[in-house]
Protein backbone atom coordinates (compact mmCIF):
# COMPACT_ATOMS: atom_id res chain seq x y z
CA UNK A 1 0.00 0.00 0.00
CA UNK A 2 1.53 3.32 -1.02
CA UNK A 3 1.89 6.23 1.39
CA UNK A 4 -0.17 8.33 -0.98
CA UNK A 5 -3.08 5.91 -0.79
CA UNK A 6 -2.81 5.68 2.98
CA UNK A 7 -3.04 9.46 3.08
CA UNK A 8 -6.07 9.44 0.79
CA UNK A 9 -7.81 6.87 2.95
CA UNK A 10 -7.05 8.73 6.18
CA UNK A 11 -8.11 12.11 4.83
CA UNK A 12 -11.33 10.78 3.29
CA UNK A 13 -12.42 8.86 6.35
CA UNK A 14 -11.46 11.82 8.56
CA UNK A 15 -13.69 14.09 6.45
CA UNK A 16 -16.58 11.68 6.99
CA UNK A 17 -16.17 11.59 10.76
CA UNK A 18 -15.58 15.33 11.04
CA UNK A 19 -18.78 16.06 9.08
CA UNK A 20 -20.67 13.59 11.23
CA UNK A 21 -19.23 15.33 14.27
CA UNK A 22 -20.42 18.73 13.04
CA UNK A 23 -23.90 17.35 12.40
CA UNK A 24 -24.10 15.75 15.83
CA UNK A 25 -22.76 18.95 17.36
CA UNK A 26 -25.55 20.90 15.69
CA UNK A 27 -28.09 18.51 17.13
CA UNK A 28 -27.20 19.87 20.55
CA UNK A 29 -29.61 22.59 21.63
CA UNK A 30 -27.09 25.36 22.28
CA UNK A 31 -24.97 25.93 19.21
CA UNK A 32 -27.30 26.71 16.36
CA UNK A 33 -28.44 30.24 17.01
CA UNK A 34 -25.90 31.54 14.55
CA UNK A 35 -27.27 29.39 11.75
CA UNK A 36 -30.97 30.02 12.05
CA UNK A 37 -32.19 33.53 11.53
CA UNK A 38 -35.67 33.79 13.04
CA UNK A 39 -35.91 37.36 11.84
CA UNK A 40 -36.08 36.18 8.23
CA UNK A 41 -39.28 34.26 8.82
CA UNK A 42 -40.69 37.02 11.00
CA UNK A 43 -39.90 39.43 8.19
CA UNK A 44 -41.71 37.13 5.80
CA UNK A 45 -44.79 37.06 8.00
CA UNK A 46 -44.54 40.79 8.60
CA UNK A 47 -44.29 41.40 4.88
CA UNK A 48 -47.48 39.50 4.57
CA UNK A 49 -48.89 41.81 7.22
CA UNK A 50 -47.61 44.73 5.20
CA UNK A 51 -49.25 43.35 2.09
CA UNK A 52 -52.44 42.95 4.04
CA UNK A 53 -52.11 46.43 5.35
CA UNK A 54 -51.63 47.92 1.97
CA UNK A 55 -54.36 45.93 0.26
CA UNK A 56 -56.92 45.42 2.93
CA UNK A 57 -56.79 48.85 4.43
CA UNK A 58 -57.48 50.70 1.22
CA UNK A 59 -59.77 53.52 2.10
CA UNK A 60 -59.57 52.70 5.78
CA UNK A 61 -56.26 53.60 7.35
CA UNK A 62 -53.64 54.59 4.85
CA UNK A 63 -54.97 55.74 1.54
CA UNK A 64 -51.72 57.33 0.47
CA UNK A 65 -49.98 53.97 0.18
CA UNK A 66 -48.96 53.13 -3.33
CA UNK A 67 -48.81 49.79 -5.02
CA UNK A 68 -46.70 48.94 -8.04
CA UNK A 69 -48.59 47.47 -10.97
CA UNK A 70 -46.51 45.52 -13.46
CA UNK A 71 -48.11 44.85 -16.83
CA UNK A 72 -46.53 42.49 -19.34
CA UNK A 73 -47.91 41.39 -22.68
CA UNK A 74 -47.08 40.50 -26.27
CA UNK A 75 -48.54 42.25 -29.26
CA UNK A 76 -49.65 40.70 -32.57
CA UNK A 77 -46.03 40.66 -33.77
CA UNK A 78 -45.12 38.71 -30.62
CA UNK A 79 -42.99 41.62 -29.42
CA UNK A 80 -42.87 41.62 -25.65
CA UNK A 81 -43.77 44.76 -23.73
CA UNK A 82 -43.59 45.57 -20.07
CA UNK A 83 -44.60 48.64 -18.13
CA UNK A 84 -44.83 49.28 -14.44
CA UNK A 85 -46.49 52.15 -12.65
CA UNK A 86 -47.63 53.14 -9.19
CA UNK A 87 -51.21 53.70 -8.19
CA UNK A 88 -52.66 54.91 -4.94
CA UNK A 89 -54.63 52.23 -3.22
CA UNK A 90 -57.08 54.75 -1.96
CA UNK A 91 -58.01 55.46 -5.56
CA UNK A 92 -58.84 51.83 -6.20
CA UNK A 93 -60.92 51.66 -3.07
CA UNK A 94 -62.66 54.90 -3.99
CA UNK A 95 -63.53 53.54 -7.44
CA UNK A 96 -64.82 50.35 -5.91
CA UNK A 97 -66.99 52.18 -3.41
CA UNK A 98 -68.29 54.38 -6.19
CA UNK A 99 -69.27 51.33 -8.22
CA UNK A 100 -71.01 49.59 -5.33
CA UNK A 101 -72.95 52.73 -4.50
CA UNK A 102 -73.87 53.35 -8.13
CA UNK A 103 -77.59 52.50 -8.29
CA UNK A 104 -80.73 53.55 -10.09
CA UNK A 105 -81.17 56.58 -7.87
CA UNK A 106 -77.95 58.27 -8.80
CA UNK A 107 -77.79 56.84 -12.35
CA UNK A 108 -77.74 60.25 -13.95
CA UNK A 109 -75.25 59.89 -16.72
CA UNK A 110 -73.30 57.33 -18.68
CA UNK A 111 -72.17 54.58 -16.33
CA UNK A 112 -69.07 53.70 -18.39
CA UNK A 113 -67.97 57.32 -18.55
CA UNK A 114 -68.64 57.73 -14.82
CA UNK A 115 -66.49 54.70 -14.07
CA UNK A 116 -63.74 56.12 -16.25
CA UNK A 117 -63.97 59.46 -14.49
CA UNK A 118 -63.71 57.94 -11.03
CA UNK A 119 -60.69 55.90 -12.16
CA UNK A 120 -59.02 58.87 -13.85
CA UNK A 121 -55.84 58.97 -11.75
CA UNK A 122 -55.26 55.21 -12.05
CA UNK A 123 -55.84 55.24 -15.81
CA UNK A 124 -53.54 58.24 -16.10
CA UNK A 125 -50.74 56.37 -14.28
CA UNK A 126 -51.05 53.56 -16.79
CA UNK A 127 -51.22 56.01 -19.70
CA UNK A 128 -48.06 57.80 -18.56
CA UNK A 129 -46.19 54.49 -18.29
CA UNK A 130 -47.40 53.48 -21.76
CA UNK A 131 -46.53 56.86 -23.19
CA UNK A 132 -42.96 56.60 -21.94
CA UNK A 133 -42.62 53.11 -23.37
CA UNK A 134 -44.20 54.08 -26.69
CA UNK A 135 -41.88 57.06 -27.10
CA UNK A 136 -38.90 54.91 -26.32
CA UNK A 137 -39.97 52.32 -28.87
CA UNK A 138 -41.10 54.98 -31.35
CA UNK A 139 -44.43 53.27 -32.01
CA UNK A 140 -47.13 55.01 -34.00
CA UNK A 141 -50.20 54.47 -36.20
CA UNK A 142 -51.33 50.84 -36.28
CA UNK A 143 -48.39 49.66 -34.18
CA UNK A 144 -49.41 52.01 -31.41
CA UNK A 145 -53.05 50.90 -31.64
CA UNK A 146 -52.00 47.25 -31.49
CA UNK A 147 -49.73 48.04 -28.55
CA UNK A 148 -52.59 49.53 -26.51
CA UNK A 149 -55.28 47.03 -27.45
CA UNK A 150 -53.15 43.91 -26.93
CA UNK A 151 -52.21 45.25 -23.49
CA UNK A 152 -55.91 45.19 -22.59
CA UNK A 153 -56.63 41.88 -24.34
CA UNK A 154 -53.84 39.99 -22.58
CA UNK A 155 -55.09 39.75 -18.95
CA UNK A 156 -57.30 36.66 -18.60
CA UNK A 157 -61.05 36.76 -18.99
CA UNK A 158 -63.27 36.42 -15.95
CA UNK A 159 -66.99 35.75 -16.10
CA UNK A 160 -68.79 38.51 -14.20
CA UNK A 161 -72.46 38.64 -13.22
CA UNK A 162 -74.42 41.12 -11.15
CA UNK A 163 -76.60 38.46 -9.53
CA UNK A 164 -76.00 37.30 -6.01
CA UNK A 165 -76.30 33.61 -5.34
CA UNK A 166 -74.87 30.75 -7.29
CA UNK A 167 -71.38 31.15 -8.66
CA UNK A 168 -71.31 31.35 -12.49
CA UNK A 169 -68.13 29.25 -12.52
CA UNK A 170 -70.15 26.06 -12.70
CA UNK A 171 -71.44 27.05 -16.14
CA UNK A 172 -67.99 27.80 -17.48
CA UNK A 173 -66.54 24.33 -17.88
CA UNK A 174 -63.68 22.43 -16.37
CA UNK A 175 -61.10 25.14 -16.99
CA UNK A 176 -62.66 27.29 -14.30
CA UNK A 177 -62.22 26.67 -10.61
CA UNK A 178 -65.12 26.79 -8.21
CA UNK A 179 -63.77 30.05 -6.86
CA UNK A 180 -66.12 32.98 -7.16
CA UNK A 181 -63.48 35.70 -7.16
CA UNK A 182 -61.47 37.47 -9.83
CA UNK A 183 -58.39 35.28 -9.82
CA UNK A 184 -55.32 36.67 -11.62
CA UNK A 185 -55.07 33.39 -13.56
CA UNK A 186 -58.57 33.94 -14.95
CA UNK A 187 -59.90 30.69 -13.53
CA UNK A 188 -62.32 32.35 -11.17
CA UNK A 189 -65.67 34.05 -11.67
CA UNK A 190 -67.42 36.94 -10.02
CA UNK A 191 -71.02 37.22 -9.00
CA UNK A 192 -72.78 40.07 -7.31
CA UNK A 193 -70.80 42.73 -9.13
CA UNK A 194 -73.24 45.62 -9.09
CA UNK A 195 -74.64 47.50 -10.82
CA UNK A 196 -74.09 46.10 -14.32
CA UNK A 197 -71.59 43.29 -13.89
CA UNK A 198 -68.74 45.60 -14.79
CA UNK A 199 -65.66 46.59 -12.81
CA UNK A 200 -64.30 50.10 -12.88
CA UNK A 201 -61.05 50.55 -14.87
CA UNK A 202 -59.22 51.12 -11.56
CA UNK A 203 -60.32 47.73 -10.26
CA UNK A 204 -59.48 46.05 -13.56
CA UNK A 205 -55.99 47.55 -13.56
CA UNK A 206 -55.50 46.35 -10.00
CA UNK A 207 -56.86 42.81 -10.37
CA UNK A 208 -55.74 42.29 -13.98
CA UNK A 209 -58.75 40.27 -15.05
CA UNK A 210 -62.16 41.20 -16.32
CA UNK A 211 -64.87 40.62 -18.90
CA UNK A 212 -65.81 42.29 -22.19
CA UNK A 213 -67.10 45.67 -21.01
CA UNK A 214 -64.62 45.91 -18.13
CA UNK A 215 -61.83 45.61 -20.68
CA UNK A 216 -63.50 47.65 -23.42
CA UNK A 217 -63.94 50.74 -21.26
CA UNK A 218 -60.28 50.79 -20.21
CA UNK A 219 -59.17 50.30 -23.81
CA UNK A 220 -61.51 53.13 -24.80
CA UNK A 221 -60.19 55.41 -22.04
CA UNK A 222 -56.57 54.78 -22.98
CA UNK A 223 -57.20 55.29 -26.71
CA UNK A 224 -58.91 58.58 -25.93
CA UNK A 225 -55.83 59.69 -24.03
CA UNK A 226 -53.72 58.77 -27.04
CA UNK A 227 -56.06 60.98 -29.12
CA UNK A 228 -57.76 58.22 -31.05
CA UNK A 229 -61.43 58.44 -31.93
CA UNK A 230 -62.68 55.51 -29.90
CA UNK A 231 -66.04 54.34 -28.59
CA UNK A 232 -67.60 51.63 -26.50
CA UNK A 233 -69.96 49.48 -28.58
CA UNK A 234 -72.69 47.20 -27.27
CA UNK A 235 -74.95 44.83 -29.18
CA UNK A 236 -75.94 41.22 -29.63
CA UNK A 237 -74.03 38.26 -31.03
CA UNK A 238 -76.83 35.71 -31.27
CA UNK A 239 -80.39 35.47 -32.60
CA UNK A 240 -81.47 33.24 -29.74
CA UNK A 241 -84.29 34.72 -27.66
CA UNK A 242 -83.17 32.79 -24.56
CA UNK A 243 -79.56 33.95 -24.80
CA UNK A 244 -79.22 36.91 -27.17
CA UNK A 245 -75.50 37.18 -26.40
CA UNK A 246 -75.31 40.75 -25.20
CA UNK A 247 -71.74 41.81 -25.74
CA UNK A 248 -69.45 44.82 -25.55
CA UNK A 249 -66.57 45.71 -27.85
CA UNK A 250 -64.20 48.54 -28.43
CA UNK A 251 -64.91 50.76 -31.44
CA UNK A 252 -62.27 52.71 -33.35
CA UNK A 253 -62.94 55.31 -36.05
CA UNK A 254 -60.60 56.97 -38.50
CA UNK A 255 -58.41 53.91 -38.95
CA UNK A 256 -58.56 51.42 -41.80
CA UNK A 257 -59.83 48.11 -40.41
CA UNK A 258 -57.72 44.97 -40.89
CA UNK A 259 -60.89 42.95 -41.60
CA UNK A 260 -63.46 45.22 -43.23
CA UNK A 261 -67.13 44.41 -42.69
CA UNK A 262 -69.01 45.26 -39.56
CA UNK A 263 -69.22 48.90 -38.45
CA UNK A 264 -71.39 51.22 -36.40
CA UNK A 265 -72.30 54.69 -37.58
CA UNK A 266 -72.37 57.33 -34.86
CA UNK A 267 -72.33 61.12 -35.14
CA UNK A 268 -71.18 60.89 -38.72
CA UNK A 269 -68.30 58.57 -37.98
CA UNK A 270 -67.82 54.88 -38.73
CA UNK A 271 -66.64 52.87 -35.75
CA UNK A 272 -65.08 49.50 -36.50
CA UNK A 273 -65.40 46.88 -33.77
CA UNK A 274 -62.41 45.38 -31.99
CA UNK A 275 -62.74 42.33 -29.76
CA UNK A 276 -60.75 42.99 -26.58
CA UNK A 277 -62.08 40.23 -24.30
CA UNK A 278 -58.97 38.09 -24.74
CA UNK A 279 -55.78 38.00 -26.77
CA UNK A 280 -55.93 36.16 -30.05
CA UNK A 281 -53.89 36.91 -33.20
CA UNK A 282 -57.16 36.97 -35.18
CA UNK A 283 -58.92 39.44 -32.86
CA UNK A 284 -57.88 42.38 -35.00
CA UNK A 285 -59.68 45.61 -35.84
CA UNK A 286 -62.90 44.93 -37.73
CA UNK A 287 -62.97 41.15 -37.22
CA UNK A 288 -66.33 39.88 -35.90
CA UNK A 289 -66.07 36.37 -37.34
CA UNK A 290 -65.89 34.92 -33.89
CA UNK A 291 -69.60 35.75 -33.44
CA UNK A 292 -72.62 34.15 -35.08
CA UNK A 293 -74.46 37.38 -35.81
CA UNK A 294 -73.97 41.13 -35.63
CA UNK A 295 -77.24 42.58 -34.36
CA UNK A 296 -78.35 45.93 -32.95
CA UNK A 297 -74.89 47.31 -32.24
CA UNK A 298 -74.63 50.89 -31.07
CA UNK A 299 -72.20 53.31 -29.54
CA UNK A 300 -72.86 53.78 -25.83
CA UNK A 301 -69.84 55.81 -24.87
CA UNK A 302 -67.95 58.24 -27.04
Amino acid sequence: MSTKDKGFFSVSSSIFWVILGIILFLLLPYFKNGFYNEEKVKEWVENFEEQKHTIDSIGNSNNSKKVVIRWTWKDYNMDRHEISFRVQQGEIQRAKKFRIGYNGLNFNGNIYQDFINISESVIDSMYQAMLGDVRKKKLRDMDLLNYIVTAIQTPPYTKITNEEGECPCKDMGSNWLDDCYPRPDGQGCCNGVVPLAVYTPAEFIYQKTGDCDTKAILAYALLKKFKYDAAVLVGFTSNSIKDPGAHCMLGVAGVKPVVPGAKVRHSGRLYYPWEVTSFNPYFVLGNINMWQVWRDWEVVCN
Partner: protein
Protein backbone atom coordinates in the same frame (compact mmCIF):
# COMPACT_ATOMS: atom_id res chain seq x y z
CA UNK B 1 -15.22 -7.03 15.95
CA UNK B 2 -15.55 -7.86 12.29
CA UNK B 3 -18.43 -5.64 11.13
CA UNK B 4 -17.54 -6.13 7.47
CA UNK B 5 -18.44 -9.82 7.75
CA UNK B 6 -22.16 -9.05 8.09
CA UNK B 7 -22.40 -6.39 5.42
CA UNK B 8 -19.77 -7.19 2.82
CA UNK B 9 -19.09 -10.89 3.48
CA UNK B 10 -15.60 -10.05 4.74
CA UNK B 11 -14.68 -13.50 6.08
CA UNK B 12 -11.29 -14.27 7.60
CA UNK B 13 -10.66 -17.27 5.35
CA UNK B 14 -10.33 -14.97 2.37
CA UNK B 15 -7.22 -13.50 3.98
CA UNK B 16 -5.41 -16.77 4.73
CA UNK B 17 -2.74 -15.98 2.16
CA UNK B 18 -2.33 -12.37 3.20
CA UNK B 19 0.35 -11.08 5.57
CA UNK B 20 -0.55 -9.98 9.07
CA UNK B 21 -0.20 -6.31 8.15
CA UNK B 22 -2.41 -6.69 5.12
CA UNK B 23 -4.97 -8.59 7.10
CA UNK B 24 -5.10 -5.95 9.83
CA UNK B 25 -5.29 -3.18 7.27
CA UNK B 26 -8.10 -4.84 5.31
CA UNK B 27 -10.09 -5.62 8.45
CA UNK B 28 -9.76 -2.03 9.60
CA UNK B 29 -10.76 -0.67 6.20
CA UNK B 30 -13.87 -2.82 5.91
CA UNK B 31 -14.83 -2.14 9.51
CA UNK B 32 -14.62 1.58 8.85
CA UNK B 33 -16.65 1.20 5.67
CA UNK B 34 -19.29 -0.86 7.48
CA UNK B 35 -19.46 1.72 10.25
CA UNK B 36 -19.94 4.50 7.68
CA UNK B 37 -22.66 2.46 6.03
CA UNK B 38 -24.41 1.90 9.35
CA UNK B 39 -24.20 5.62 10.17
CA UNK B 40 -25.79 6.49 6.82
CA UNK B 41 -28.53 3.91 7.31
CA UNK B 42 -29.23 5.21 10.83
CA UNK B 43 -29.54 8.74 9.43
CA UNK B 44 -32.00 7.42 6.84
CA UNK B 45 -34.11 5.76 9.54
CA UNK B 46 -34.06 8.99 11.58
CA UNK B 47 -35.08 10.98 8.51
CA UNK B 48 -37.96 8.59 7.84
CA UNK B 49 -39.17 9.06 11.41
CA UNK B 50 -39.01 12.86 11.06
CA UNK B 51 -41.01 12.81 7.82
CA UNK B 52 -43.45 10.30 9.26
CA UNK B 53 -43.99 12.45 12.32
CA UNK B 54 -44.69 15.55 10.26
CA UNK B 55 -47.06 13.76 7.89
CA UNK B 56 -48.91 11.48 10.30
CA UNK B 57 -48.25 13.11 13.69
CA UNK B 58 -48.22 9.58 15.06
CA UNK B 59 -45.22 7.75 16.51
CA UNK B 60 -46.18 4.29 15.26
CA UNK B 61 -46.61 5.45 11.67
CA UNK B 62 -43.45 7.52 12.00
CA UNK B 63 -41.43 4.48 13.07
CA UNK B 64 -42.92 2.46 10.20
CA UNK B 65 -41.90 5.31 7.86
CA UNK B 66 -38.41 5.30 9.37
CA UNK B 67 -38.03 1.56 8.90
CA UNK B 68 -39.33 1.82 5.37
CA UNK B 69 -36.97 4.62 4.37
CA UNK B 70 -34.14 2.95 6.27
CA UNK B 71 -34.80 -0.36 4.52
CA UNK B 72 -34.97 1.17 1.08
CA UNK B 73 -31.84 3.25 1.71
CA UNK B 74 -30.02 0.20 3.13
CA UNK B 75 -30.62 -1.72 -0.09
CA UNK B 76 -29.82 1.23 -2.36
CA UNK B 77 -26.63 2.20 -0.56
CA UNK B 78 -25.45 -1.39 -0.39
CA UNK B 79 -26.16 -1.76 -4.08
CA UNK B 80 -24.09 1.31 -4.91
CA UNK B 81 -21.31 0.12 -2.58
CA UNK B 82 -21.16 -3.26 -4.29
CA UNK B 83 -21.29 -1.75 -7.76
CA UNK B 84 -18.29 0.38 -6.85
CA UNK B 85 -16.30 -2.57 -5.46
CA UNK B 86 -14.29 -3.54 -8.51
CA UNK B 87 -10.86 -5.13 -8.18
CA UNK B 88 -7.94 -3.40 -9.82
CA UNK B 89 -6.33 -6.74 -10.69
CA UNK B 90 -7.30 -6.38 -14.30
CA UNK B 91 -6.76 -9.99 -15.41
CA UNK B 92 -8.89 -11.31 -12.57
CA UNK B 93 -11.61 -8.78 -13.34
CA UNK B 94 -11.60 -9.74 -17.00
CA UNK B 95 -11.62 -13.48 -16.30
CA UNK B 96 -14.38 -13.13 -13.73
CA UNK B 97 -16.58 -11.20 -16.10
CA UNK B 98 -15.81 -13.53 -19.02
CA UNK B 99 -15.27 -17.08 -17.76
CA UNK B 100 -15.24 -18.59 -21.25
CA UNK B 101 -11.58 -17.68 -21.45
CA UNK B 102 -10.80 -19.84 -18.41
CA UNK B 103 -13.02 -22.70 -19.52
CA UNK B 104 -11.42 -22.78 -22.99
CA UNK B 105 -8.19 -24.06 -21.44
CA UNK B 106 -10.03 -27.23 -20.35
CA UNK B 107 -12.06 -27.93 -23.46
CA UNK B 108 -10.00 -30.97 -24.60
CA UNK B 109 -9.46 -32.51 -21.18
CA UNK B 110 -10.92 -35.87 -20.33
CA UNK B 111 -12.70 -35.56 -17.01
CA UNK B 112 -14.59 -38.85 -17.09
CA UNK B 113 -12.39 -40.57 -14.55
CA UNK B 114 -11.69 -37.75 -12.12
CA UNK B 115 -13.16 -37.52 -8.62
CA UNK B 116 -14.70 -34.40 -6.98
CA UNK B 117 -11.48 -33.92 -5.01
CA UNK B 118 -9.41 -33.96 -8.19
CA UNK B 119 -11.77 -31.38 -9.73
CA UNK B 120 -11.28 -29.18 -6.69
CA UNK B 121 -7.54 -29.65 -6.95
CA UNK B 122 -7.51 -28.52 -10.59
CA UNK B 123 -9.54 -25.45 -9.67
CA UNK B 124 -7.26 -24.71 -6.73
CA UNK B 125 -4.21 -25.01 -8.97
CA UNK B 126 -5.72 -22.49 -11.32
CA UNK B 127 -6.47 -20.24 -8.38
CA UNK B 128 -2.84 -20.36 -7.20
CA UNK B 129 -1.58 -19.77 -10.71
CA UNK B 130 -3.83 -16.72 -11.07
CA UNK B 131 -2.91 -15.45 -7.62
CA UNK B 132 0.81 -15.64 -8.44
CA UNK B 133 0.31 -13.98 -11.80
CA UNK B 134 -1.69 -11.08 -10.39
CA UNK B 135 0.47 -9.33 -7.88
CA UNK B 136 0.34 -5.83 -9.30
CA UNK B 137 -2.74 -3.63 -9.53
CA UNK B 138 -3.58 -1.47 -12.51
CA UNK B 139 -5.66 1.67 -12.81
CA UNK B 140 -8.95 0.72 -14.54
CA UNK B 141 -9.16 1.85 -18.15
CA UNK B 142 -11.57 4.64 -18.98
CA UNK B 143 -14.68 3.71 -20.87
CA UNK B 144 -17.41 6.08 -22.09
CA UNK B 145 -20.06 4.06 -20.26
CA UNK B 146 -18.31 4.97 -16.99
CA UNK B 147 -19.66 8.51 -17.33
CA UNK B 148 -23.26 7.28 -17.47
CA UNK B 149 -22.94 4.76 -14.66
CA UNK B 150 -21.07 7.19 -12.43
CA UNK B 151 -23.66 9.92 -13.11
CA UNK B 152 -26.50 7.56 -12.18
CA UNK B 153 -24.75 6.43 -9.00
CA UNK B 154 -23.85 9.95 -7.90
CA UNK B 155 -27.36 11.24 -8.66
CA UNK B 156 -28.90 8.45 -6.63
CA UNK B 157 -26.66 9.18 -3.66
CA UNK B 158 -27.24 12.95 -3.93
CA UNK B 159 -31.02 12.55 -4.07
CA UNK B 160 -30.86 10.39 -0.97
CA UNK B 161 -28.54 12.83 0.78
CA UNK B 162 -30.85 15.74 -0.03
CA UNK B 163 -33.82 13.85 1.41
CA UNK B 164 -31.95 12.99 4.57
CA UNK B 165 -30.40 16.46 4.91
CA UNK B 166 -33.80 18.17 4.95
CA UNK B 167 -35.18 15.81 7.57
CA UNK B 168 -32.18 16.10 9.87
CA UNK B 169 -32.17 19.89 9.48
CA UNK B 170 -35.85 19.93 10.43
CA UNK B 171 -34.97 17.91 13.53
CA UNK B 172 -32.00 20.17 14.32
CA UNK B 173 -34.01 23.37 14.17
CA UNK B 174 -37.40 22.05 15.27
CA UNK B 175 -37.79 24.54 18.11
CA UNK B 176 -37.01 27.49 15.90
CA UNK B 177 -39.36 26.21 13.21
CA UNK B 178 -42.12 25.77 15.78
CA UNK B 179 -41.63 29.34 16.97
CA UNK B 180 -42.01 30.55 13.40
CA UNK B 181 -45.07 28.39 12.87
CA UNK B 182 -46.60 30.03 15.94
CA UNK B 183 -45.98 33.43 14.30
CA UNK B 184 -47.80 32.26 11.20
CA UNK B 185 -50.62 30.75 13.22
CA UNK B 186 -51.14 34.02 15.06
CA UNK B 187 -50.91 36.18 11.94
CA UNK B 188 -53.91 38.48 11.81
CA UNK B 189 -53.48 38.74 8.07
CA UNK B 190 -53.99 35.06 7.52
CA UNK B 191 -57.05 35.01 9.73
CA UNK B 192 -58.53 37.96 7.93
CA UNK B 193 -57.74 36.69 4.46
CA UNK B 194 -59.08 33.25 5.35
CA UNK B 195 -62.33 34.77 6.57
CA UNK B 196 -62.78 36.24 3.06
CA UNK B 197 -64.22 39.59 3.80
CA UNK B 198 -65.90 40.73 0.60
CA UNK B 199 -65.66 44.36 1.57
CA UNK B 200 -61.92 44.24 1.58
CA UNK B 201 -59.86 43.92 -1.56
CA UNK B 202 -58.06 40.84 -0.27
CA UNK B 203 -60.15 38.54 -2.35
CA UNK B 204 -58.88 40.28 -5.44
CA UNK B 205 -55.54 38.62 -4.86
CA UNK B 206 -57.07 35.17 -4.78
CA UNK B 207 -55.13 34.42 -1.61
CA UNK B 208 -58.08 33.13 0.34
CA UNK B 209 -57.60 29.46 -0.43
CA UNK B 210 -53.90 29.66 0.42
CA UNK B 211 -54.60 31.40 3.70
CA UNK B 212 -57.21 28.81 4.64
CA UNK B 213 -54.84 26.01 3.74
CA UNK B 214 -52.02 27.56 5.75
CA UNK B 215 -54.18 28.02 8.82
CA UNK B 216 -55.54 24.52 8.43
CA UNK B 217 -52.12 22.86 8.38
CA UNK B 218 -50.88 24.72 11.45
CA UNK B 219 -53.99 23.99 13.52
CA UNK B 220 -54.08 20.90 15.71
CA UNK B 221 -56.88 18.51 14.90
CA UNK B 222 -57.59 15.47 17.08
CA UNK B 223 -54.16 14.96 18.62
CA UNK B 224 -51.39 17.29 19.70
CA UNK B 225 -48.51 17.98 17.35
CA UNK B 226 -45.61 15.62 17.96
CA UNK B 227 -42.42 17.30 16.84
CA UNK B 228 -43.19 19.98 14.27
CA UNK B 229 -46.37 21.98 14.82
CA UNK B 230 -47.72 21.53 11.32
CA UNK B 231 -49.03 18.78 9.08
CA UNK B 232 -47.27 20.22 6.06
CA UNK B 233 -43.77 19.24 4.99
CA UNK B 234 -43.84 21.95 2.35
CA UNK B 235 -44.52 24.69 4.88
CA UNK B 236 -41.85 23.24 7.18
CA UNK B 237 -39.31 23.24 4.38
CA UNK B 238 -40.27 26.77 3.36
CA UNK B 239 -39.72 28.02 6.92
CA UNK B 240 -36.49 26.06 7.23
CA UNK B 241 -35.24 27.48 3.97
CA UNK B 242 -36.05 31.04 4.98
CA UNK B 243 -34.66 30.63 8.46
CA UNK B 244 -31.38 29.06 7.42
CA UNK B 245 -30.81 31.11 4.28
CA UNK B 246 -27.40 30.33 2.79
CA UNK B 247 -26.48 28.15 5.74
CA UNK B 248 -28.90 25.59 4.37
CA UNK B 249 -26.78 25.29 1.26
CA UNK B 250 -23.73 24.65 3.41
CA UNK B 251 -25.53 22.05 5.52
CA UNK B 252 -26.89 20.33 2.42
CA UNK B 253 -23.40 20.29 0.99
CA UNK B 254 -22.07 18.70 4.19
CA UNK B 255 -24.69 15.99 3.97
CA UNK B 256 -23.90 15.40 0.30
CA UNK B 257 -20.24 15.05 1.21
CA UNK B 258 -21.10 12.70 4.07
CA UNK B 259 -22.93 10.43 1.66
CA UNK B 260 -20.37 10.67 -1.13
CA UNK B 261 -17.19 10.09 0.89
CA UNK B 262 -17.71 6.32 1.42
CA UNK B 263 -18.33 5.84 -2.28
CA UNK B 264 -15.31 7.89 -3.25
CA UNK B 265 -13.28 5.81 -0.81
CA UNK B 266 -14.47 2.51 -2.24
CA UNK B 267 -13.90 3.73 -5.77
CA UNK B 268 -10.58 5.50 -5.41
CA UNK B 269 -8.74 4.00 -2.44
CA UNK B 270 -6.47 1.07 -3.24
CA UNK B 271 -7.36 -0.39 0.14
CA UNK B 272 -10.58 -1.56 -1.42
CA UNK B 273 -10.19 -1.85 -5.17
CA UNK B 274 -6.55 -2.90 -4.92
CA UNK B 275 -6.95 -4.83 -1.66
CA UNK B 276 -6.43 -8.50 -0.93
CA UNK B 277 -10.05 -9.06 -0.02
CA UNK B 278 -11.49 -8.17 -3.42
CA UNK B 279 -8.68 -10.07 -5.14
CA UNK B 280 -9.40 -13.19 -3.10
CA UNK B 281 -13.15 -12.83 -3.63
CA UNK B 282 -12.54 -12.66 -7.39
CA UNK B 283 -10.23 -15.68 -7.22
CA UNK B 284 -12.78 -17.59 -5.16
CA UNK B 285 -15.47 -16.77 -7.66
CA UNK B 286 -13.33 -17.97 -10.55
CA UNK B 287 -12.36 -21.15 -8.67
CA UNK B 288 -15.93 -22.02 -7.79
CA UNK B 289 -17.12 -21.43 -11.34
CA UNK B 290 -14.22 -23.48 -12.73
CA UNK B 291 -14.85 -26.36 -10.37
CA UNK B 292 -18.51 -26.55 -11.29
CA UNK B 293 -17.57 -26.29 -14.95
CA UNK B 294 -15.28 -29.33 -14.55
CA UNK B 295 -17.98 -31.27 -12.70
CA UNK B 296 -20.50 -30.42 -15.40
CA UNK B 297 -18.04 -31.43 -18.12
CA UNK B 298 -17.36 -34.68 -16.32
CA UNK B 299 -21.03 -35.55 -16.22
CA UNK B 300 -21.44 -34.57 -19.82
CA UNK B 301 -18.52 -36.72 -20.97
CA UNK B 302 -19.74 -39.66 -18.85
CA UNK B 303 -23.18 -39.48 -20.43
CA UNK B 304 -21.64 -39.32 -23.90
CA UNK B 305 -19.55 -42.43 -23.09
CA UNK B 306 -22.61 -44.36 -21.91
CA UNK B 307 -24.46 -43.43 -25.07
CA UNK B 308 -21.54 -44.65 -27.22
CA UNK B 309 -21.20 -47.99 -25.47
CA UNK B 310 -24.80 -48.89 -24.53
CA UNK B 311 -26.74 -47.59 -27.50
CA UNK B 312 -25.80 -49.01 -30.93
CA UNK B 313 -26.65 -46.20 -33.22
CA UNK B 314 -24.65 -47.84 -36.06
CA UNK B 315 -27.41 -50.42 -36.57
CA UNK B 316 -29.89 -47.58 -37.11
CA UNK B 317 -27.62 -46.11 -39.71
CA UNK B 318 -27.47 -49.49 -41.59
CA UNK B 319 -31.25 -49.83 -41.59
CA UNK B 320 -31.54 -46.39 -43.08
CA UNK B 321 -29.08 -47.39 -45.80
CA UNK B 322 -31.05 -50.60 -46.65
CA UNK B 323 -34.29 -48.73 -46.99
CA UNK B 324 -32.75 -46.31 -49.40
Amino acid sequence: MNLGKYLFGFRDEYLNKASETERAEQTYSYNILSLMFLVLTTLCIAAGIVYGLVIFQNWIFAIICGLLLGGVSFILLLLVFFINMTTRHTELYQKMTNMKEVFAEYDDHDFTGISDEMALQIAQQKKMELRDRNQVTETPKFHASNIITTTIKVTLVLVLSCLIANAIEIFMFKNKINADIAEIRNSETLKKVASRDKDSLNYLEGKNALAKWTLDVVTEKETTFKMIDTYSILLTLEILDRGLGNWKLLLDFLFALLFLVPFILVRKSKRYSGGVFLKEVALSDITTSLMFFILAQRKCQQVKQIITTDYKYDSFIKVTKDVN
